[in-house]
Symmetry: C2
Subunit: 208 residues, 2 copies
């Protein structure tokens, strides 16, 4: 059974338990999905509403994007748990002979690369959610402007949470070319996003 098919309270119970997965990576993806769902809500509260005739096309476009990102982030919750399981399976491989040790080390490095790329995908997708928040705040139903503000807070928290999960895995990776590439991609994703969050939050507060 997929984790996201379980009740919210069960998800929270499994998160709080001493099982290492789900953990912060899955929370990052959920946080991004909550942000995307809020953008969809702002759009759905704007479609067909009087006074918003001129933005209907833009809002339909925003909704199509937010729903695609929500589906992607919901799927990444499961991918993050699978990536952890993959690492866990590799770590349990036999390590009797030198050959077995080498094979186990190779499998662990390969699993760690996947466990790095999943939160990197979460970070990339969270940035795409952030990009929808200012248009939603500016063009969407003014009664839902606070929801666009909450969306950017959740998406930025998703980005930073995913970043921590990328960084913790990079520390254990030996392929320095891979490490440098992923670190550069992550830094580019993070750049300016704290300021972007503040800008949208301040805009929303000015409209309340």
């Amino acid at each position: 059974m997929n984790l996201t098919d379980k009740p919210v309270t069960t998800f929270l119970d499994e998160l709080a338990s001493d099982a290492p997965a789900p953990g912060g990576g899955s929370v990052a993806a959920i946080s991004g999905a909550l942000g995307a769902a809020l953008i969809s809500m702002v759009c759905n509260l704007t479609i067909g509403k009087k006074g918003y005739e001129e933005v209907q096309g833009d809002i339909q476009d925003l909704l199509a994007q937010s729903e695609e990102l929500r589906a992607k982030l919901t799927n990444l919750v499961e991918e993050d748990v699978k990536a952890y399981t993959g690492y866990s399976v590799a770590a349990k491989k036999p390590r009797g002979s030198d050959e077995e040790k080498a094979e186990r080390a190779k499998a662990m490095q390969s699993a760690l690369k996947n466990a790095t790329d999943v939160p990197l995908s979460i970070a990339e997708t969270a940035v795409k959610v952030m990009d929808l928040c200012m248009p939603a705040a500016e063009k969407g139903n003014k009664w839902a402007v606070s929801d666009a503000g909450v969306a950017v807070l959740m998406a930025e928290a998703a980005l930073r949470s995913a970043a921590l999960n990328v960084l913790i895995n990079l520390g254990s990776l030996k392929d320095q070319e891979f490490v440098a590439d992923r670190r550069a991609r992550l830094e580019s994703l993070l750049e300016g996003k704290g300021a972007m969050r503040d800008e949208i939050y301040d805009y929303v507060v000015s409209k309340l």
Copy 2:
């Protein structure tokens, strides 16, 4: 059926829909509950573990607090929906005679006060989760330090999201004494919390 007893995907679907509740207030509470659950996870991964003998008492205390806050925030998800429903019921009261109009206005103001105090409670509880994050990062299992970092990101996003939901309601309230009191309480809760988030995030990054 409680909202948090529904599957995660159903919660996201209802959030994304054109129903105004659940909305940003419920997301604020969920975000805080995710943060609290991650602190519990860090504690549960530390209890009984070799090398952490000296912090067992502190970690047990942290766990008791995080589990209490998680239960409170999970309940506040439902309270936020109820507060919206209360306002919605008041707004639908008859407004034929002057007497009916006055009664409806009174009921709406009363419902708005409740719809302000629920996110204010979410904000207060989120700050209490934030207070647990540095001790969890410093004393907890070092392999879970990134989870303590994600916890502070979720708790601070919960605080700020709740703040937007307090502010949107304060704008429609006529009782200026109430407005000034709640605004002052909110400002005191928000003060220094951005810096606190950055400090804990930077500490966690330094440990990865």
